[in-house]
Symmetry: C2
């Protein structure tokens, strides 16, 4: 006789996702990587004029430790580091595109 199945939803799945992509710049970083594929550190920096090195580094490190992006280091001089979506990160692709489309729609319907 089987044991009763236990419910295991200690946290809400939405909360789970938000905790991983909720950083200030995380979704835009993920989106840039989704669009462009691979980006170097300073390429990402230029995408966000107001971000500081420190903040960008931290957001990237958190995304990496959550397994959403990959960090490829080339041991050469000058240094070269490439960021891209991991497989898990790529599974966010539909969400990222929908967020972009929603924003486009919002802008179109709410002219500044």
């Amino acid at each position: 006789m089987d044991k009763q199945q236990t419910i295991e939803c200690p946290v809400c799945p939405v909360e789970y996702t938000v905790n991983m992509v909720g950083g200030k710049y995380k979704l835009v970083i993920l989106h840039k990587l989704a669009i462009h594929g691979v980006k170097r550190f300073n390429e990402l920096r230029r995408e966000f004029p107001n971000i500081t090195q420190r903040t960008l580094t931290r957001q990237l490190r958190e995304l990496e430790s959550d397994g959403l992006i990959s960090r490829q280091v080339y041991s050469e001089i000058p240094p070269k580091v490439e960021y891209s979506l991991s497989e898990t990160g790529k599974s966010l692709y539909p969400i990222l595109l929908q967020i972009e489309n929603w924003g486009l729609n919002y802008i179109a319907n709410n002219p500044k």
Copy 2:
């Protein structure tokens, strides 16, 4: 009352979306409203055991001023206020569902 801090990514639709739904509880609030339709203030409070009245109020006010939710006040005693998704908020429905599904998948594939 201070508004949530916004990021600056020149003409990036993702930025618009993130600035509107980027609050700590905003996406989960929107998701609850998407699922349940209409919720009163204290009903929402009970959904998030750790949220304070002030924080919930602020998140709701910001969502309202961004046009994502509607606030229906019944002039009676005791007071009664109902929150629900506006038409604009309802257009987030696919995103909210995908975020939920992504979280479910992630939890399923990464057993704690």
